[in-house]
């Protein structure tokens, strides 16, 4: 078999230099100068903040039923924005190549967890202590646990997740900061990037440790995310609904968070491709790969959902019937229908077709609907959970009556709009300092990916280092 390795070696140097220049140029040419858009986002964020203040003032923390939509939104952010970095982590551990150009797009969501951490504080105030006699995983009565264990442990996990996310982003960007340090003309930027690059000069040892650090931090981020999903779904939802025992729900919650995380990254990819000048780096391959992953996660969601549903339907104990009515057929029938349609039926009807899957717009539109579906899926669980959190029958672990539907009030809507705006705004501001396409990962890819002639055709050759 003939090879073109010599040519490959000769062109490596110029390829790497060109890539560096192109990616630094992409970072410096500020696409985020659309000030009107930034001002609108800032105003909406402030409106959200006002909404939060109004909510605290008007409703206080004594009536959890009033906070159902707020909790839904916080959990929605956890399962979208904070799950998005997984798109960078899993393929990195699996040594994939296709994800290199979008790994930073995904990792940039990690620091946004800080906003969610702040939003989480009122949730902690709303959640009742364990002394109300509900069934919990903390076995409050038998183990004599602190009544605020869910609050304390979940907060610790939340903080860990945010810190791990920030550390992951920083560690994986250090070589890029070094490149920016060398290429900055502005003294302030040079100083900033010198600090951020942490004396990076690219020794073999530095590369070796850096890759291991990313792998370890990524693995810990994944584990913390799973644990947090477990804690949130059990302590902040399941235990508040008398009689609801669903051992699969934490896994369903986590699977949906991966699905929504992928959807979040796809939407960010679309925006960066369209308005961020990343067309050369974010292409069909990435949309295709993530589209397939999103579809697989949709199937996983429905499998988990059906696995829970069939047991409740078949068991048909009074409590099980009440739970089905509460979260599916009763007061939250429309959100349930919406979530089932958007999270499963729509992907099933569209994604098997290659023309939709292998396009830019197809996976993007679907990702948008999946995010809406995820919100509705959270809503049908968390809103009734907080309606029932002061239910008088919780000592009997049995749900005799299903409450009525409640709708969001104006402050809820303000918080939701403001929260989403704040997340987008912060993301855009972060891209001012951090290149959205990882320079070092692209350069490394150029070493392992070559196109070459194979007899009468051209093939792609992908190297896989040990």
């Amino acid at each position: 078999m003939s090879t073109s390795q010599n040519t490959h070696e000769q062109t490596q140097f110029s390829k790497q230099a060109d890539l560096t220049a192109k990616l630094v140029g992409l970072h410096v040419s500020k696409y985020n100068k659309n000030t009107i858009f930034l001002i609108i986002l800032s105003v909406l964020s402030i409106i959200g903040l006002i909404g939060l203040i109004v909510k605290i003032t008007n409703d206080g923390f004594d009536n959890p039923a009033k906070w159902g939509y707020y909790v839904t939104f916080v959990v929605f952010l956890l399962t979208t924005v904070q799950a998005a970095p997984m798109v960078a982590i899993a393929p990195f551990i699996a040594k994939g190549h296709w994800n290199r150009s979008i790994s930073k797009v995904a990792q940039l969501f990690a620091p946004l967890g800080l906003i969610n951490l702040l939003l989480f504080i009122p949730v902690l105030c709303v959640l009742p202590s364990l002394s109300d006699g509900r069934r919990t995983l903390w076995f409050f009565e038998s183990l004599k646990m602190n009544a605020y264990m869910p609050h304390i442990i979940t907060l610790i996990s939340f903080i860990c997740l945010v810190l791990l996310g920030i550390a992951l982003l920083w560690i994986s960007t250090v070589p890029d900061f070094a490149v920016l340090r060398e290429n900055s003309k502005n003294t302030y930027n040079k100083k900033l990037f010198s600090i951020l690059s942490n004396r990076w000069i690219g020794t073999s040892k530095q590369w070796f440790t850096q890759k291991h650090r990313i792998g370890i931090l990524g693995a810990f981020y994944f584990m913390t995310l799973v644990i947090l999903n477990f804690q949130i779904s059990s302590d902040f939802a399941m235990s508040l609904i008398p009689g609801w025992i669903d051992s699969l729900y934490p896994a369903t919650h986590t699977a949906n968070s991966f699905q929504a995380g992928v959807a979040t990254v796809i939407i960010a990819m679309y925006a960066l491709r369209k308005w961020g000048g990343c067309k050369d780096f974010i292409g069909f391959d990435q949309f295709w790969a993530l589209g397939k992953l999103m579809f697989a996660l949709s199937l996983m969601w429905v499998w988990f959902f059906f696995s829970s549903f069939i047991i409740f339907w078949y068991g048909a104990k009074p409590t099980e019937k009440a739970i089905i009515e509460l979260s599916m057929t009763g007061p939250y029938f429309i959100p349930f229908l919406g979530s089932a349609f958007l999270l499963f039926i729509l992907p099933l009807l569209t994604m098997p077709f290659n023309r939709i899957r292998r396009s830019i717009l197809g996976p993007t539109i679907l990702a948008f609907f999946i995010l809406i579906g995820s919100f509705l899926d959270r809503l049908r669980i968390y809103v009734p959970a907080y309606q029932l959190s002061d239910h008088p029958n919780k000592h009997n672990f049995y749900l005799p009556d299903v409450p009525k539907t409640i709708l969001p009030d104006i402050p809820d809507l303000m918080i939701i709009v403001g929260g989403i705006s704040a997340v987008i705004l912060t993301y855009i501001l972060l891209t001012k300092f951090i290149p959205v396409v990882s320079i070092w990962q692209q350069k490394e890819l150029s070493l392992y990916k070559i196109h070459k002639k194979f007899h009468r055709t051209e093939v792609l050759v992908l190297g896989k280092p040990e």
């Binding site: 059906f306 549903f309 069939i310 339907w313 078949y314 048909a316 290659n354 194979f454 007899h455 009468r456 055709t457 093939v459």
Partner: protein, 171 residues
């Protein structure tokens, strides 16, 4: 079928196969009259040939629809035909129907896919035509299938293209 004859030329090198294909084409044989035989799958276009076309993807969709309909009729029909209430469930219970309909859909899709693979590969093939067992040992064959009067020309082209061995066979 019976008024055709075939001849095969055996090669050991991919590039000479590609060159030979050019010569076969230049000497007037249509692309439907010759084909490459290999013992290994090669990337599309390795020999400068066109990418093979197929309609396999239609088969699982049709199969899935058939399987779904059979599953639906079977489950609904059984429940209606034998109206026995068990476990307090409705007579026409949809959740268990979904399970069997799902299996039916998948079974239909798989059966049709396998049928599609065999059909689209034009198998089973009763007459092997010109063939040599060395194909499965790494040799690459160019098989020309045409009218008996063109066989001499075909043999000539293959020999001139550097075929190590040329053999005739029935179609």
């Amino acid at each position: 079928m019976f008024n055709k004859r075939s001849v095969i030329g055996l090669f050991t090198d991919e590039d000479s196969v590609a060159d030979a294909l050019d010569k076969v084409s230049e000497s007037g044989f249509k692309s439907t009259e010759y084909e490459i035989l290999t013992g290994t799958p090669y990337p599309d276009g390795t020999f400068g040939d066109e990418e093979p076309k197929h309609k396999l993807y239609r088969f699982p969709i049709i199969g899935a629809m058939c399987g779904f309909i059979v599953g639906l009729l079977l489950t609904a029909g059984n429940q209606i035909a034998f109206p026995l209430i068990t476990g307090g469930k409705p007579l026409l219970s949809i959740p268990p129907m979904l399970i069997i309909m799902y299996e039916g859909t998948m079974l239909g899709a798989i059966l049709f896919t396998v049928f599609g693979i065999i059909f689209e590969s034009r198998l089973p093939r009763l007459f092997m035509g010109a063939y040599d067992t060395k194909i499965t040992e790494g040799y690459i064959g160019i098989c020309i299938t045409s009218s008996p009067d063109k066989m001499l020309q075909a043999e000539e082209v293959l020999k001139n293209s550097g075929a190590e061995e040329v053999k005739r066979g029935w179609e």
